[in-house]
């Protein structure tokens, strides 16, 4: 049970990656969203403002055009003549005057579908219309109407009325916008009023066809706030619907009005030319709706990318931690003393460079470990082998039966002292070697053994062999390998002294030199050639003997390469073998 929750690289990377992605993308989302919303709203309102402005311009142009038409008509000579003379004319003349006016006016009205009526009136009650079918409604008191009085007031300038019902034509009650103008004499005296009534066909065309998008619409009001045009004009007139007027009258402005259920944006544009205000209305909720849509869109986007990112990060993590996990497993195996280590335990690791580097380094380490273990094994094997051989040599058959021969010969000759001495020495020799299974023995033991050995040999060889052992007693406590001296002495006797004519001497000297124990075994035998000297440490032992090389190798195995044997000498000049050992107690 873990006290503190441990986490894996995978968890850490995935978590931080996800958090980072989420925060970045969310921040981007919010910024983009706000920016987009503002842009959308601005673009929408700008668009509508432009539309409104355009419509207003068109309306201005239209009205101006009509005013020009009216100007042309009122300057028309037939019209002026009629206005000047009709009041005082008799019926026949009236007819003639009227006819000439009608001829002029009919043409205009026929050509234009937006003109409802063109007529002229005198203050005394005479009226002429654009067609003979139209006649004056005697009950209509036109001299009291706005379009008449205002035209008179303006003395020649145009008056544009609001939307109203025209009752001046008998039996007709049309909704029109009236453009009226006084017909004046050169002096400015007013002869009459010219009336041009516009029906809604062109106004409709100008206003109704405008696509405001988003359930928007536009409407037009005059200076007093009366509606000139509205797409639901009858509904407004019936008071079933009401329309915002006061706050936007006569200005260029934008306001938002809410009525509980929804809020609307009103954009107004005022025309100096007509005095009318054009208003565009957009459902502000639609702006919000589209902003909701935008938000949903962005959010969806974010989620999708987040999911993709998290997924990707998981995969990448996997890729990173896979080799690491394998490494961990391998190391666990090493830890568990699994001696059966396979080299290249990690196999083919794919992944980032660091992981592959790590795994090759690990592999190398394992290989080296394996090698070193193997080396140690090998060394131990060698040592056992050598030990075994040494043990074998100790019980050298030749030496044994030669010695026994000598004992028998001495016994046959009645030399019982000699028998006793030689047998005792032999017994001492063997007892020591058999009982000893340690690698190292005290130098005193070796010295004692070699004395036994040399005693036996000297008894056999008599005058031919003499020996001298010179070892300070202080060195006798040192540890030396067992079976150190015997092979060397044996070699010195059999290959050095025995072939020599005449007596030989073996000297064994021991001393300390620079922290080392040096033992020199010298003989004055036949010596060795240079070749023999250099090869002697490598020579395989002849049958039965363990050889110099064995001793040399053992020393080096136990103590290291810097110790061992070294031979010196020359042909016919004797041989000295130097044993170098560490000074160890």
């Amino acid at each position: 049970m873990k006290r503190r929750k441990e986490y894996s690289i995978q968890q850490a990377i995935t978590l931080s990656f996800s958090v980072l992605t989420l925060s970045i993308v969310s921040a981007a989302l919010i910024i983009a969203y706000r920016f987009t919303i503002e842009e959308v709203q601005n673009v929408s309102t700008d668009y509508i403002s432009q539309l409104i402005s355009q419509v207003n311009d068109n309306v201005d142009q239209y009205v101006t055009y009509i005013e020009d038409v009216s100007e042309v008509v009122r300057k028309n000579s037939s019209v002026r003549k009629w206005a000047a003379e009709v009041d005082s004319a008799g019926p026949a003349t009236t007819m003639v005057l009227a006819d000439s006016v009608i001829n002029q006016l009919t043409g205009i009205v026929n050509v234009r579908s937006d003109v409802s009526t063109i007529a002229a009136f005198t203050p005394s009650g005479s009226a002429v219309f654009d067609s003979r079918e139209k006649s004056l409604n005697v009950h209509a008191r036109y001299e009291e109407t706005d379009w008449y009085t205002e035209a008179v007031k303006r003395g020649g300038d145009c008056f544009v009325s609001s939307s109203h019902v025209q009752n001046v034509v008998a039996d007709r009650y049309d909704w029109v916008v009236s453009v009226s103008r006084a017909i004046t004499k050169g002096s400015g005296e007013i002869m009459g009023v010219l009336l041009v009534d516009l029906n809604y066909s062109l106004i409709n065309d100008l206003c109704a066809g405008v696509d405001m998008g988003m359930q928007g619409y536009l409407y037009v009001v005059d200076k007093e706030g009366n509606i000139i045009y509205h797409p639901q004009q009858q509904l407004v007139y019936s008071h079933v619907k009401s329309e915002v007027v006061d706050d936007v009258l006569g200005k260029n402005t934008q306001i938002i009005k809410s009525d509980g259920n929804s809020s609307k944006l009103y954009i107004s544009n005022y025309s100096e030319v007509t005095g009318w205000t054009v208003l565009g209305v957009v459902n502000a909720d639609d702006l919000i709706q589209s902003s909701n849509n935008i938000f949903t869109f962005y959010a969806l986007f974010v989620l999708l990318f987040l999911a993709a990112g998290a997924f990707l990060s998981a995969v990448i993590c996997q890729n990173l931690t896979d080799p690491l996990q394998k490494l961990v497993i391998a190391m666990e195996e090493v830890k568990s003393d699994n001696l059966e280590l396979r080299s290249n335990i990690l196999g083919n690791i794919s992944g980032p460079r660091e992981a592959t580097q790590l795994s090759s380094a690990f592999n190398e380490m394992i290989a080296q470990l394996n090698q070193s273990i193997r080396q140690q094994e090998k060394a131990r094997e060698e040592r056992r082998e050598i030990e075994f051989k040494a043990l074998q040599a100790q019980i050298n058959p030749h030496f044994l039966y030669n010695t026994l021969d000598s004992i028998i010969w001495m016994a046959e000759n009645g030399d019982s002292d000699g028998v006793v001495e030689m047998t005792a020495a032999l017994a001492r020799l063997f007892r020591s070697s058999i009982s000893e299974d340690r690698e190292l023995v005290p130098f005193s033991v070796e010295v004692a053994n070699i004395r036994s050995y040399l005693t036996i040999l000297q008894m056999r060889y008599k005058e031919k062999l003499s020996y001298d052992i010179d070892i300070p007693s202080g060195l006798l406590l040192c540890s030396v390998p067992k079976l150190l001296l015997q092979p060397l002495v044996e070699n010195a006797i059999y290959h050095g002294i025995k072939p020599k004519d005449g007596p030989g001497k073996i000297t064994i000297k021991g001393f300390e030199d620079k922290g080392r124990l040096i033992i020199e075994i010298g003989d004055n035998g036949v010596g060795m050639s240079k070749d023999q000297l250099s090869n002697i440490l490598n020579k395989k032992p002849h049958s039965g003997g363990i050889g110099i090389s064995n001793v040399h190798n053992r020393i080096r195995l136990i103590f290291g390469e810097e110790y061992g044997l070294s031979y010196a000498g020359a042909l016919d000049a004797g041989t000295i073998v130097r044993v170098t050992l560490p000074l160890a107690i």
């Binding site: 995978q10 968890q11 995935t14 978590l15 409604n137 009950h139 209509a140 609001s162 109203h164 019902v165 009752n167 039996d171 009650y173 909704w175 809604y200 106004i203 409709n204 009366n226 045009y229 639901q232 004009q233 009858q234 509904l235 007139y237 019936s238 008071h239 079933v240 849509n293 949903t296 869109f297 969806l300 986007f301 999708l304 990318f305 999911a307 993709a308 997924f311 990707l312 998981a314 995969v315 993590c317 996997q318 890729n319």
Partner: protein
């Protein structure tokens, strides 16, 4: 964490999945419209209107149609107008209702030619689960959810008041109704008579009914003038009777001696008003009736039954030659057809 479970994920699996996510994301980016549902298109609901007459000539009913058209467009209805061609054809009126029931619209709006006779049909409609409204003329029994129209009794009362204000102490009073038995007519006459109750009862002639025919109304009134040359006041309960009365008075050149008070505002009535043949008219708001009936149907279908009044009074205005051209009254009595 869940990602441990993804330990089984290999490149070959994960990469395509990631690509899928990204592809969907990019598609959403490029085709946002695909993601968002359109503004919910309501299934169009249907209303069937039973008019007293489907004849084109009635300006009143034409205005009602205009109102219905405007309302239907706004509230998303499809509508149909059924009915007999003659206001007097009660059986035709009933048959039209049955025909409508068979079509199973969402709403039926009934203008009953006869108050009593249409009760069965009205009950039948409601039993079939159709919402029933009445317009201009009501039906016996309490079957309709709502009545949209003028307060006909009040109309009658105003007719009487206007006459009283103008008429002297002398002379008889003739009353012309349009359809005997129609609720609108009965109530108006009732209102008028109540209002005239303060006058000498002998002055008041029994009402005649023109059956929706203005020519007949004219003949009837001419006959009455012959019989009672001292008629000094005429009340006409609707457009047809008014035109007939106006024609009669105009032809007989009696406009200065006879006060004529009418209901409705056909163009010729207006013209007579200007001329002084008709002295005052009570203008109803047929456009509003049409529009409001659709609006009410919409409210009822949305389940706002509690907010819908039983009687929606569309209101009337008293129009005289003096006030007929005010901006407000212009808007009322001259239907705007831009």
């Amino acid at each position: 964490m869940i990602f441990k479970g993804l330990g089984l994920v290999r490149y070959k699996v994960a990469l395509p999945i990631c690509l899928c996510f990204l592809t969907v994301g990019i598609l959403v980016a490029v085709y946002p419209g695909a993601v968002f549902s359109q503004k919910n298109n309501q299934q169009e609901r249907s209303i069937i209107y039973i008019f007293k007459t489907t004849a084109d000539s009635s300006e009143f009913w034409n205005s009602v149609s205009d109102g219905i058209e405007a309302g239907s467009r706004e509230f998303g209805f499809s509508y149909d107008i059924l009915g007999a061609s003659d206001e007097t054809d009660i059986d035709g009126n009933i048959a039209a209702v049955e025909q409508a029931i068979a079509i199973k619209p969402d709403v039926i709006v009934l203008s009953a030619s006869n108050y009593e006779a249409l009760e069965d049909a009205a009950r039948h409609a409601v039993e079939e689960g159709i919402i029933l409204l009445t317009l201009d003329s009501g039906v016996a029994g309490d079957w309709a959810h709502c009545y949209v129209g003028s307060n006909n009794y009040e109309v009658g009362r105003l007719l009487g008041e206007e006459l009283k204000a103008r008429i002297g102490d002398e002379g008889k009073i003739a009353l012309i109704g349009h359809i005997e038995g129609a609720q609108s007519v009965e109530e108006r006459l009732s209102g008028a008579l109540d209002s005239l109750a303060s006058l000498d009862a002998r002055r008041i002639l029994p009402p005649v009914f023109c059956d929706g025919d203005s020519a007949k109304a004219k003949r009837q009134l001419q006959g009455l003038f012959e019989e009672h040359p001292d008629i000094s006041g005429v009340i006409a309960t609707n457009e047809d009777s008014a035109l007939g009365a106006g024609d009669a008075v105009s032809e007989l050149k009696l406009k200065d001696t006879v006060t004529v008070i009418t209901c409705d505002n056909a163009l010729r009535q207006i013209s007579y008003l200007e001329q002084g043949v008709i002295d005052a008219t009570i203008a109803q708001k047929p456009f509003n009736m049409g529009y409001i009936s659709v609006q009410t149907a919409d409210r009822l279908l949305r389940g706002g039954g509690s907010k819908v009044p039983e009687f929606y009074d569309t209101g009337v205005e008293i129009i005289t030659v003096d006030n007929m051209f005010t901006i407000e009254n212009q808007k009322l009595i001259f239907p705007f057809r831009g």
